[in-house]
Structure formats: structure tokens, C-alpha cells
Symmetry: C2
Subunit: 223 residues, 2 copies
DNA sequence: TAGATTGTTAATCGATTAACAATC
DNA sequence: TAGATTGTTAATCGATTAACAATC
């Protein structure tokens, strides 16, 4: 990718090395593992133990955890509570991003109803859907509004993040609307690649890609 | 020493070099892109064009496509129809894996109702759910059966693949059931790591990991 | 042919793994 | 202290990118 706009170069100064994406993906796994350890009689855990339980190498665990800024004690390991907090802080889970959800079909409702997201740094404030029958309130009291309310809501709440759970045919149109309203990041569950302005981030959740990996894994053992 | 000059047009999985996972993840993206090209007047496309539209490098596209066994024509590119077929063959999309879905909540229903999976090599034959109110037939006529029917169904239909869309608390128990019935691969949407016997493959769909990546991308530009 | 594009081999880059020093 | 574990620097490995030959 070419370097084009230089006006935001103020934030460029290398305050910290960029975190490898594989590390970012593992951090929530560590967190979930640590949370489920339950009340053990030890308050500390070694990366050898973590690695063994998660089928990773101790060195990798150590490097990953170091990214969050945690400091362990030789011979003891890491304080479990401090480690949980360090991961949460690092991933910004204590300051969730507010987001608007587009689409209240089955997938949209699953995303809207899942309360766990708030623990993972995401707060879906409402959903919009063009289908009048779907409008109203979800069982968890979150509002499902007409699509026309989206622009006003985004501007009024200064929303920067949108979650797309719309049909393939509506995805690009929805992305255009988001960009026009000032949305800066889109979490896209629609099974299609969307085009956005260069200052908008897109994270594409591609189940077909996951299936491809899974299928090949199956083929490798079965064949 | 390089061997395997065996030029088999139909790429069989299992033998030869393992395909890099990033390549596997991109292949469905190429397919989706090619499918949406629509009826152009040209039947061939170059990897330069593909790369430009998908924001990749031409060399990477060429390498990825080569994995499927497709052969292009210098100066012309790849025949679009042949390329689509080559990707489909390589990923096994013409012989879908039959799967049983566990859980008919919002997410489960989204997965059960999504007809596109059959094009991606997955055929969800039915769902099971312990909730009597959910049992019956989905709008697309797929059956939602009592949980107790799972074992019999798996054995009778020789199912090898299970899709888990159950609550966190039920995930491990469900995985145990699957393993006991002879399931060989689990696509896990529950937000928890599950333990399975060594001969069972697990693909974990971890939204928290995706969110972590997305949050950091946002933070990098916004901060 | 000339030129564009593919296919392949080599170089680079980044993530993982190894080696080892620091430390409680 | 002795020993286990962390933290850091070096080596390895795999994926991406570059260079270039083959070919239509």
C-alpha cells in the first residue's frame, strides 16, 4: 500500500512496536483461559502452565504477555488478577467502542443479544433495519430502529464504529451510508468485500475463509 | 531437493506441499470477487487486475491461484470460468460436508438459515436444541430436533462434522457428546476453548480475537 | 516479432523458536 | 544459595515480495 496522506503524521512517532496480529488474536484466548481458571489457591501462574493447557510454547506465551506490559516474577510467574487486568487494559476492554448494528436478521439479533461483547470492548447501542416488522425492542431492551434513523443516530452519538449484518446485496450501500456519516471502522459480517474510503477501516469476518481452512484440515486427516 | 513434477490437473489434498493458511483464507475471496465480476465481455482476467481490485500484489495472487492447479495463459491471464471451477474443486465445494448444528438460538438460526454455506462446502442437515419451544422446522424446512436425537442422527447419517452454536456453559459437554458419537471435526462458535480427543479437529471462530484486531486498528489511526 | 503476462527461483521480511542471561 | 522462571537477544522457519526466465 502506498503512503498517500501525510497530514496525520503526528501520531506516527514510534511510541511502541506494532503488535503482531497473531499475538492480538491470542490475547483474548489467554484472558478467557485465565478467567475460567476459577478460584485456585495460587494467585500466580507460569507461562509453562498456560502453554501446556493451551497447547502453545512457553516462549510464545511469554512474548505475547509481555506485549501487554505485564511483568512477571521469576520463579513465580504472573499474578492472575494483574494479568487479566493487563490484557483488558491493553485491548481497551474497559473503554468499549460504541457501535451501531445494521441488520436485525438472525445474525444481527445474535450479535445484538450477545451480552459478552461489552466485556470485549464493544457496546452495540442499537440496531437499524428496513423491515418494519423487526423494528421495536429486542428482549434485552436494545432498540431496533428504522434504517432512516441511522444517520442521525451516528451523528448525535458520535459513533465511529458500525457492525454490518445485512444481506450481501445491501452491504455496499450500507457501507457507503456509514462512510458518509463519519463512521471510521466497519466490522463486516456480510459475505462480500466492501469498498470504503481510505480513512475507513474494514474488518471482514469471512466464514467462507474459515470453512476453507477447516475443510482442508479435514481432508488432510481423512484422505 | 525438489521433486513431485507430477502435474496432476486435479489437485488432490493430502499429498504434496501443504497450502499456507493465509492462501486458503484468500481463495474464497478470489472466488467471491470473480463471481461478482458479472458478465464482462472478456472471459479472461489477469492477476494484475485481480490484485488491483482486491488490494493485493500480483505475485501473491499468482502464487495463491497456482495452488489450485489452474494454469494461465501468458499475455491473457486466467479464464474466469475455469478459475472459478478450479477454486471450487480445490476447496471441495462440489462435495459439501454434511454437518449437524448444535444450538438453535439466534446464532444457530442464522447459520441454519444461511443457504450460502452449501456453495462453500458445508451442508447443515439439521439442528438440535434442548429447548422444546425451538424444536420443529425452520422456515427453510430444516428440522430442529431434540438434543437426544443427536447421537442417533450422527451415527445413522455417518456425520463427521458438527457446528457448535451453544452457550458457553454447554460447549464442553456438547463437544464430549460429539467426540463420543464419532464426529471428527467441530466448528466451534461458542466463546470458549473446548477440549477434544487428539483425532478430532476443532476450528474455533473467535469473535473476541477479531475484535481485538479491529480495536487495535482503530486505536492506531485515532490515537 | 514485441510485449504483456505467467511461472519459478531467489531474497526479504516477520513471526516463531531457541539460547541464555537476569532475578527472585 | 540453588533452582525455577522471566526477559532478551539470536537463530530458524515460513510467507511475502522481488527478480527473471518462459511463453503465448
Amino acid at each position: 500500500l502506498e503512503v498517500n496522506v501525510e497530514n496525520s503524521s503526528s501520531a506516527k512517532s514510534g511510541d511502541s512496536a506494532p503488535i503482531p496480529e497473531p499475538t492480538l488474536r491470542r490475547l483474548p484466548v489467554y484472558h478467557q483461559y485465565l478467567k475460567n481458571l476459577g478460584p485456585t489457591k495460587y494467585s500466580a501462574i507460569s507461562c509453562t502452565q498456560i502453554a501446556q493447557d493451551l497447547r502453545l510454547t512457553p516462549i510464545q506465551v511469554r512474548k505475547d504477555l509481555a506485549c501487554t506490559g505485564i511483568v512477571g516474577k521469576p520463579k513465580t510467574g504472573y499474578d492472575v488478577g494483574a494479568l487479566l487486568g493487563s490484557i483488558e487494559d491493553f485491548l481497551g476492554w474497559n473503554n468499549p467502542n460504541e457501535a451501531l448494528l445494521f441488520g436485525a436478521g438472525h445474525l444481527g439479533m445474535a450479535l445484538l443479544m450477545y451480552e459478552g461483547f461489552r466485556n470485549y470492548g464493544l457496546d452495540i447501542v442499537a440496531a437499524v433495519d428496513p423491515d418494519h416488522q423487526k423494528q421495536g425492542s429486542a428482549p434485552n431492551d436494545k432498540k431496533i430502529l428504522p434504517l432512516e434513523k441511522a444517520a442521525g443516530l451516528i451523528r448525535r452519538m458520535h459513533l465511529k464504529l458500525a457492525v454490518l449484518a445485512v444481506p450481501e446485496a445491501a452491504a455496499q450501500k450500507t457501507a457507503d451510508l456509514c462512510a458518509a456519516c463519519g463512521i471510521k471502522a466497519i466490522w463486516n459480517f456480510a459475505p462480500v468485500k466492501i469498498s470504503v474510503p481510505p480513512d475507513v477501516i474494514v474488518q471482514h469476518e469471512n466464514l467462507a475463509s474459515s470453512l476453507a481452512v477447516l475443510s482442508k484440515k479435514i481432508g488432510r486427516t481423512a484422505a
